[in-house]
């Protein structure tokens, strides 16, 4: 059993990957919130292949989805983005007023200074966990 686990660990992509991860995610932060929250971050696709975010997860919210705020001409609208492509070499910034990872039905209040983790799933790169800090500003 122990041997099987050791073998699985050795064979898992994270354990044997000698190359830099093609997808890198950094500068993830959130705002104080108590029902709906949003995470902003930067994704860099440093690989040679196109990829796409097609799922998100977190343990602080009932559901986690990628959304986009957009200008309606009279104000700000928002829509769910089930699949967000990111081309090879592209840097995609999730910023207030644009893309964000939406935390729906928060299980606890997010207060300035809190830290938590979310995961983004990529069609090719798989799940990537991202540490998030809650910033008052």
């Amino acid at each position: 059993m122990m041997l099987a686990i050791a073998l699985m660990l050795m064979l898992s992509p994270n354990a044997v990957d000698a190359h830099p991860a093609p997808i890198q995610i950094h500068d993830a932060y959130s705002r104080p919130a108590n029902d709906m929250g949003a995470v902003f971050l930067t994704i860099v696709n440093g690989g040679a292949s196109d990829d796409a975010v097609d799922a998100a997860r977190s343990d602080v919210a009932g559901a986690t989805e990628v959304h986009e705020s957009y200008d309606t001409g009279s104000g700000s609208g928002m829509r769910h983005i089930p699949r967000l492509p990111i081309s090879a070499g592209q840097t995609l910034s999730f910023r207030s007023g644009g893309y964000h990872v939406m935390l729906i039905g928060l299980k606890r209040d997010l207060r300035a200074g809190d830290r938590f983790t979310i995961g983004l799933h990529f069609e090719h790169a798989g799940w990537i966990d991202v540490p998030v800090v809650v910033k008052g500003f």
């Binding site: 705002r31 029902d35 709906m36 009932g62 959304h67 039905g105 008052g136």
Partner: protein
Amino acid sequence: MLAAISAVALFTTALPTSAAMPAGVHDLLGKPAPDFHLVDQSGKDFVLSGLRGRAVVLFFGYTHCPDICPTTLATIASALRQLGTEAPKKIQVAFVTDDPARDSPHTLGRFTSLFDPSFLGLSGSAAQMAPVYKAYHVWFQRLPNPGSAAGYLLAHSSIIYMIDRDGTLRFIHDWRDPMPAIQADLKELMT
């Protein structure tokens, strides 16, 4: 004059965002801010003109808003904190709901207290809210948001209204205006 400069500045330095202002908002500048009567997060009556002598900052939004409302309230809270301990005494910030069906006084209080305990969360019945939205040219629309677990969302105008201590609507800002520009006008309200 300052109001005029501010309005010009909005058009010259924030072109991408000024387009998002509903028609009529700029006409409010320099005039008495429309008075209204709502309830605050503790269920107490709130009358705008009752705050005469203190400046008031109004922002209309909803507590299920994950992006623009928290960002704007965090910006205002941070700008005020940097202006010193006198700022909250001289300026009252009030978040007014666009979503009275879901935003009870309690819900609003939980939300606004995350940014600053002095912030008010205002709501009322549909009949009470309607003339307030009309007077301030507040625009919003329910988005059904299919395929999402979030329930309905709102598209909404996202304007910061700044009312001086005499009750005149002195400045307006789009939520995306840079913090120093917002802070400069908050400072002006304190003088």
